[in-house]
């Protein structure tokens, strides 16, 4: 019998039953919820007159819809306040742990799960948010679900899921200086497109992936969903164990050693078979940026926007539509464009390493006067650490505006909106029309590329600053 992939090992161990000709009943170890996709699920179980089945396996935090200034005050926007209060009310009623707005653990769900050690190798994890794939960086099967499924988990700690196919993406070799995890994943998505991963769960492997820190691995897994994949994961190794050691919800002492022993069995067997395999050479990857309105429309920062002839005939209409929205010309250079906003934050790049990278880059420099630069830490803990490390000071001296933790301009549900027609270089994960505010134009890039744009005021290759 052929060996098993890491994905299969975890998935199969969580199947309560398989419905004939149908999906599997998959047991969920850890559930995360936030204010936007959970209220209707709580309403659903209440309508059925049932209680939350395993309240201790759900953790809640408000993030999508919270203001990023004056978080100590009541939320001004009435609907947002109501939604956030509803989360508190539901958690209190059902005995669910909540890290509310002024709690030191509050933050974007996908930032707090890992930093608190809630996320662990071998788990199944879900959340009503597609970027749940982030947690796969720890070797867990983690994916986003809809609200009906949130209700299923609340009611039974299970969901019904068809099993995805398995894809392996190897990235071998060394990346050049100035190239980081965000560039790797933008490069992959631009190669396979936003539907190339649909139906699959991706395992990332290869030396370039192994060499990434946990935070960088999270950036890669986070954007798996942008290729259409259900999720992405990376086999846990010493880097993973070192990261987890000593975190709030990770066992300590002998229990930790026992856990590590178990986690070491989590890898794809040598002879495991994948439904699709792809390989990329890390040396080919350059700093990437998107020019269109989906994350697959990316290119090397020194390249030109493609011409319609470079695009498959079937995709030309949407290509032209995207350029019209972005107000870009086909065939024109990407670099050198005037940038109005820079947004550093989100569950893709709002962790401490990202803030560190930006602060290192801007230290002793000033942002260009016409650029509005927002830095939004992914969590209260990231914010605290940034203060302690002196990052906050460096960024403020450079003219960046530090806001309080939340999803912020990543989805622009709160007041953090990029105005109509303005061009933003953002470290988040989606450049859809209107994603960062009605009419806002978004170019996705890494934190250093965003920092370079903030300093020069135009789209700039960050390597020009690296000696």
């Amino acid at each position: 019998m052929a060996g098993k992939t890491l994905f299969d090992k975890i998935w199969d161990a969580h199947v309560v039953e398989k419905i004939k000709g149908g999906p599997s009943v998959l047991y969920i170890d850890q559930h995360l919820i936030h204010e936007v996709t959970s209220p209707q699920a709580f309403a659903g179980i209440e309508k059925r007159g049932i209680k939350v089945f395993r309240p201790q396996q759900t953790v809640a935090t408000p993030d999508h819809n919270v203001p990023t200034v004056d978080q100590h005050l009541p939320i001004r926007d009435e609907l947002s306040r109501f939604q956030v209060n509803k989360l508190t009310e539901n958690c209190t009623k059902h005995g669910i742990t909540l890290y509310g707005l002024n709690h030191p653990f509050q933050g974007i769900v996908h930032v707090i799960g890992p930093e608190l050690g809630i996320t662990k190798p071998g788990m199944t994890m879900v959340c009503g948010d597609s970027h749940t794939s982030t947690h796969g960086a720890f070797g867990s099967v983690a994916f986003g679900i809809g609200t009906s499924e949130v209700e299923m988990v609340l009611a039974t700690q299970c969901i019904l899921q068809p099993k995805p196919k398995r894809m392996r993406i190897r990235v071998e070799g060394e990346t050049a200086r100035g190239v980081n995890a965000k560039d790797i994943i933008l490069y992959i998505i631009s190669s396979i497109s936003t539907s190339g991963g649909t139906g699959y769960f991706i395992e990332y492997t290869g030396s370039a992936i192994r060499n990434l820190s946990m935070e960088e691995r999270m950036t890669v897994c986070n954007m798996s969903i942008e290729s259409g994949a259900r999720g992405g994961l990376i086999a846990p190794d010493q880097v993973t164990f070192d990261y987890l050691k000593g975190r709030e919800f990770v066992p300590s002492g002998a229990d930790f050693d026992r856990a590590v022993e178990k986690w070491r069995t989590l890898y794809s067997d040598e002879d495991a078979v994948f439904d699709r395999e792809l390989q990329f050479d890390a040396a080919d990857i350059v700093p990437m940026i998107t020019y269109g309105t989906n994350p697959g429309m990316g290119a090397g920062i020194n390249e030109k926007i493609p011409s319609p002839e470079d695009i498959e005939p079937g995709n030309r209409d949407s290509f032209m539509k995207a350029l019209a929205y972005m107000d870009f010309e086909a065939g024109s250079p990407i670099a050198g464009r005037k940038v109005d906003y820079v947004f550093v934050g989100s569950c893709t790049n709002g962790r401490i390493e990202d803030l560190r990278a930006v602060s290192q880059f801007v230290k002793g420099k000033k942002k260009a006067p016409h650029v509005t630069a927002w830095i939004v830490p992914g969590s209260k803990q990231v914010e605290k650490q940034a203060h302690e490390e002196g990052i906050t000071k460096i960024l403020e001296d450079a003219g960046f505006k530090l806001r309080q933790p939340g999803c912020s301009a990543c989805l622009a549900m709160n007041d953090d909106k990029v105005p109509e027609g303005k061009l933003a270089v953002s470290t988040s994960n989606r450049n859809f029309e209107g994603r960062q505010g009605p009419g806002a134009r978004t170019m996705l890039a890494s934190p250093v590329t965003a920092a370079a744009a903030a300093v020069t005021g135009v789209v700039t290759d960050p390597r020009t600053f690296i000696s």
């Binding site: 309403a43 809809g146 299923m152 649909t198 009419g439």
Partner: protein, 197 residues
Amino acid sequence: MSIEKFKTILSTAIPLPIENVDTDQIIPARFLKATTRDGFGENLFRDWRYDKNGGIKPDFVLNQDRYAGTILVAGKNFGSGSSREHAAWAIYDHGFKVVVSSFFADIFKNNALNNGLLPVQVTEGFLSGIFSAIEQDPGTQLKVDLEQQEITLMTTGEKEYFQINPYKKECLLKGYDDIDYLLSIREKIARFEQSET
């Protein structure tokens, strides 16, 4: 709480020949502040339907009287992006029962099925056939027969078989929902938990 039983549909369709329609277009994030499932239809495709002052954009298909019906026909890779089920709610709430495309994003497909909205995946060729038929005559009707797993372009009689998971098909036809099923096996789930520890 069950979903509405899915019956065979014979209807005109609304064409949206755009690819990669993402969930942020279907329902922009700023409309996700509600805590109930109702009323999302009003903001379906909000920024394509209305300008920033709330004025109607006459070019958009939903604003054109010649198009009507309970079937939405869209370009490939429909529903990509976020997991917000509000996207499926908005489409359903607006009155659609079926979305036809040549490719659907996974999470959207699940969300649609969980709400009684049927995603019908057809070949590229069949899809462009539908688009040109509607372009010629907006009164073109489509028939969607879930029992037979068949979609028919009524003007030409062209048919195509579509795939659906047999379990999901049964749920839609009978109006069952997954939660009822999961609740019925709660004891089994509890035993599974025991065996794990």
